[in-house]
């Protein structure tokens, strides 16, 4: 007989401490990200399709409900970036002799790449639009 383990902790254990709450929010950023990726998938299909398809997608972005949804997605995406970068120094340890490279350098490198990619994206958009 299979006897699955059931935790004796209450199901809302994550409400106990701010640290747990932040963890749960961090994990839940995956939901707004998925919503935006679905929007992006339809956008990419439109961009590969006709001008009419693309105009419809652009028009959809201006819908007030869509603006609200995208704002929610952006907040989720930014919190994902902050928390994902926070874990990188713990996951990617860079050894230098007896010491490890200080965490701030690894964190800083990720933010530098983030800024660079944002700048490149902006330049591409301005150049193409």
């Amino acid at each position: 007989m299979r006897k699955p383990y059931h935790s004796t902790e209450p199901a809302n254990w994550y409400m106990e401490k701010p640290f747990y709450k932040r963890y749960m929010l961090r994990e839940l950023t995956c939901v707004p990200i998925a919503l935006y990726v679905l929007n992006l998938m339809s956008g990419v299909v439109a961009l590969a399709g006709s001008l009419f398809d693309w105009q419809a997608w652009v028009q959809m972005q201006k819908n007030p409900l869509m603006l609200l949804l995208v704002l929610f997605c952006l907040i989720g995406a930014v919190f994902h970036t902050v928390t994902w970068f926070e874990t990188t120094p713990k996951v990617m340890k860079v050894q230098q002799g007896e010491q490890f490279l200080p965490e701030k350098y690894i964190l800083g490198a990720h933010w530098a790449v983030f800024g660079l990619l944002a700048l490149i994206l902006l330049i591409i958009a301005i150049a193409c639009a």
């Binding site: 935006y36 998938m41 652009v58 997605c73 994902w84 958009a125």
Partner: protein, 115 residues
């Protein structure tokens, strides 16, 4: 005895790739594509289409774009499975596969619809 799941490293690899790409580019992508471009802040959305669309009609480029979107969505499916666990919602392996299947369906749809 249950069989070890040999695909687990692949699930986690796709999760890590998707999470990293999302962390690096998604906020900027959201602002540029959903706000700056539709409201004409960076130029005309129609001109953007004229310039960029031929690139998206290139098979290899489109495949890479879809792959990037696929891994980002995979990151969600994978993470969401563990969120359910953390919320004490007891789901089995079938739910896990259903989440992954949803990602595959979305990826294939994007690929086929835009090809």
């Amino acid at each position: 005895m249950s069989k070890p799941n040999n695909l687990k490293p692949i699930y986690w690899l796709l999760f890590a790739a998707g999470g990293m790409i999302a962390a690096l580019v998604l906020p900027a992508l959201i602002v540029v594509l959903s706000w700056l471009l539709p409201f004409g802040v960076v130029g005309s959305a129609d001109t953007f289409y004229q310039t960029v669309s031929p690139l998206f009609q290139n098979g290899l480029f489109y495949l890479v774009v879809v792959a990037v979107l696929f891994v980002m969505l995979w990151h969600t499916a994978h993470r969401f499975y563990y969120v359910l666990h953390d919320l004490h919602i007891h789901v089995g392996i079938k739910t896990r596969y259903a989440l992954y299947a949803f990602v595959i369906v979305c990826g294939v749809w994007t690929l086929v619809a835009g090809w």
